[in-house]
Each structure stands twice: as C-alpha cells, then as structure tokens.
C-alpha cells in the first residue's frame, strides 16, 4: 500500500517540481517586471508544494530525503505529467500551461483536502489557498489575452491548440489511481475530467478562444514513468550541480 501512496506523492510532487523549474527558467524574461515577480511567486508556491509531497514520499520510502529524490533520481523514476514538461515557447504558452494546470490542481486538491491520509489532506489544505489564487491570476490573463487584440487572441489560441494534446493524461487512471480511490486517499483521475472541462471551457469561451476537441493522443504517460523528450534536458540542468559535487553545501 505504501508503494502506491509513494507513487501518488511522486506524481503530484514531481509535477509541481518540474513546473516550478520551468517557471524558474523564465525568471527575468517576462514582458514586464511586475509579471516577472508574479509568475516566479507562483513558481515558489509550487516548489513549496513539491517539497511537502516529496518529504512525505521520502518518509514513506525510508532512508532517503526530498533532496535526494529530486537530485539523484533517474528520469524513468519521475512521475510528472507531460504537460508540465513542455517548454516556455512564449508568454501565451506559459500562461496557457499554467491555466490548464491551475484548473487541474483546483479540481484535484478540492478532493485531496478530504483525503483519508491525514498527511495528504494537511498539505492540500495549505496548498488549496495558493492554488485558488493561481487560478484567479491565470484566468484573468486568459481573458486579457483572449479579448485583447486579434494578435493576442491568435497567439493564445495557438498555445491552447498546441498544449491540448497533453491534457488527456490528466484524466487517465492507472493502478495507483485505482488504489488511491479504493483507500479514499485520492480521487480517480477520470472523475476530475468533467469539473475540469467545465472550468476550462467556460473561461476559454468567455475569452473568445475555441476549445479543441478532446482526443486520446498519447499511449505513454509521465505518471507511468514514460516522458517527453524535454524531461531529460530539464533534469540534466536541474541535477547537474549535485551530481558533480555530491556533498556541496552553502
């Protein structure tokens, strides 16, 4: 049983970790200073959430730490979703990715706050406050870009079209989902699909963005340890220093 909770914590923790790393890559590159601070603040929140889940994962596994899990794990042992691995193509991509994940996080964490696992419900009660803010922020930007100029609408539509293929993974159940559901620790991923779709489509429609058709695109998923070509590069950069100087400290 602990194996599956471990796997579940990795999925949530790794997804927040990798997304926060992607946001970190963007630091100092946002179009305006205020946005730069705002988005890196979101990244910091996500890093905090990742740390909480990875700390718990490390305790469940025993003999390891969150740092070790982060910096010494191999790519195939990561459980992050494909969506968070996608590159920072432009501001519209970064925002769309954030919006899709914020909607997912809100639907997921609204369930996790009632988890039978006290540790997970505790972390989630703290995280949901941050997540509600993240979603408000990204929703406003979707409306601002969608209803802005023809050009901003087009760039946003393009990002939505390109990123949509990564959203089917969010709602695929694997063995871990089934076990978590059985133990009332977490919801079936498939049960999050309807509330997520309602949340996403109502905002996109208000922003004059066409919602792409839902399709099954991928046969391999990050939550099962099969990743996009991007993750290897992310880890190479993220793990470079601790691998080169294993005992380095400051």
């Amino acid at each position: 049983m602990n194996d599956k909770i471990f796997d579940y914590c990795l999925r949530i923790g790794d997804s927040s970790l990798i997304l926060s790393h992607r946001i970190g890559e963007y630091c100092s590159k946002a179009p305006i200073l205020e946005e730069d601070l705002a988005i890196t603040n979101v990244g910091l929140d996500l890093l905090g959430q990742a740390e909480s889940f990875l700390n718990y994962a490390a305790e469940l596994k025993g003999n390891t730490t969150a740092d070790e899990l982060t910096f010494k794990r191999k790519e195939k042992d990561f459980r992050c979703l494909h969506l968070v691995q996608t590159p920072n193509i432009d501001f519209a991509f970064i925002l769309t990715r954030q919006f899709l994940i914020d909607c997912y996080h809100q639907t997921l964490f609204n369930q996790l706050i009632n988890s039978q696992d006290e540790r997970i419900s505790g972390i989630s009660k703290k995280a949901i406050k941050e997540i509600n803010y993240h979603l408000k922020r990204s929703t406003e930007w979707i409306l601002r870009l969608g209803l802005g100029t023809d050009h901003s609408n087009q760039r946003l539509q393009n990002a939505v079209n390109e990123l949509w293929m990564y959203t089917d993974e969010l709602f695929i159940d694997n063995e871990t989902d089934i076990k978590m559901d059985k133990l009332n620790i977490g919801p079936l991923s498939s049960s999050l699909k309807n509330p997520w779709e309602q949340l996403v489509t109502s905002t996109l429609r208000s922003a004059s963005i066409e919602v792409p058709e839902a399709n099954l695109y991928s046969l391999q998923y990050g939550k099962n340890g099969f990743h996009t070509e991007y993750l290897g590069y992310i880890l190479a950069e993220m793990q470079h220093l601790p691998l080169l100087y294993p005992d380095a400290s400051w």
Partner: protein
C-alpha cells in the same frame, strides 16, 4: 502596443491591520485594475506586510508643486501659536 508600453502607473497603499491607516508603499505598472491588484499583492504583501490594499491611478492623485514649497509651507514655521504645545495633557490620554 510597443515593447516599452508597461501599462498605467498605479500607487499602492497598504494597511497593516484593520483600523490602522493605509500607508503608501510604492508604485507599479499594470494594464487594468485586476492586474494592478494582483501585482500589488505579489510585490508588496508577500511577507505579512498587511492585509488591506488600496490602489489609485497615479494620474488621479493631486499633488502639491515642489517648486511652490516656500509660499506653501514656510509661513507656518514661525507661528508657534499654531502648535498646541502649551497645553498640559492629562495622564490618561494616549496616542498624542
């Protein structure tokens, strides 16, 4: 919109806790009210600085002219009778 366009300039005021005055803490750029409020929260209240925010468009603030200082403020300096320093304040009175 040019690359240099960072939006409207806004002035931000923070209230430390309910009942206390809002104090000016700085300014920011944003394109609309909602964005200004979020930016103010992210820039100025992330370390428990307060739990109330006021935001005003900088252009809506009427300010005194710095060059008028002499005629505006100096005349009060030598009129000590305008400062109520001659009164004895009862012990029970606070916040003066």
């Amino acid at each position: 919109m040019s690359d240099e366009d960072q939006g409207i300039l806004w002035e931000v005021f923070i209230q430390v806790k309910a009942g206390r005055p809002f104090k000016h803490v700085g300014s920011l750029h944003a394109y609309d009210k909602e964005m200004a409020m979020k930016a103010a929260r992210d820039l100025y209240t992330r370390r428990n600085e307060g739990n109330g925010i006021w935001i005003v468009k900088a252009e809506n603030i009427i300010s005194s002219d710095i060059n008028d200082g002499e005629s505006f403020f100096d005349p009060s300096n030598d009129k000590i009778y305008r400062h109520p320093t001659f009164y004895k304040i009862p012990d029970g009175v606070k916040h003066i």
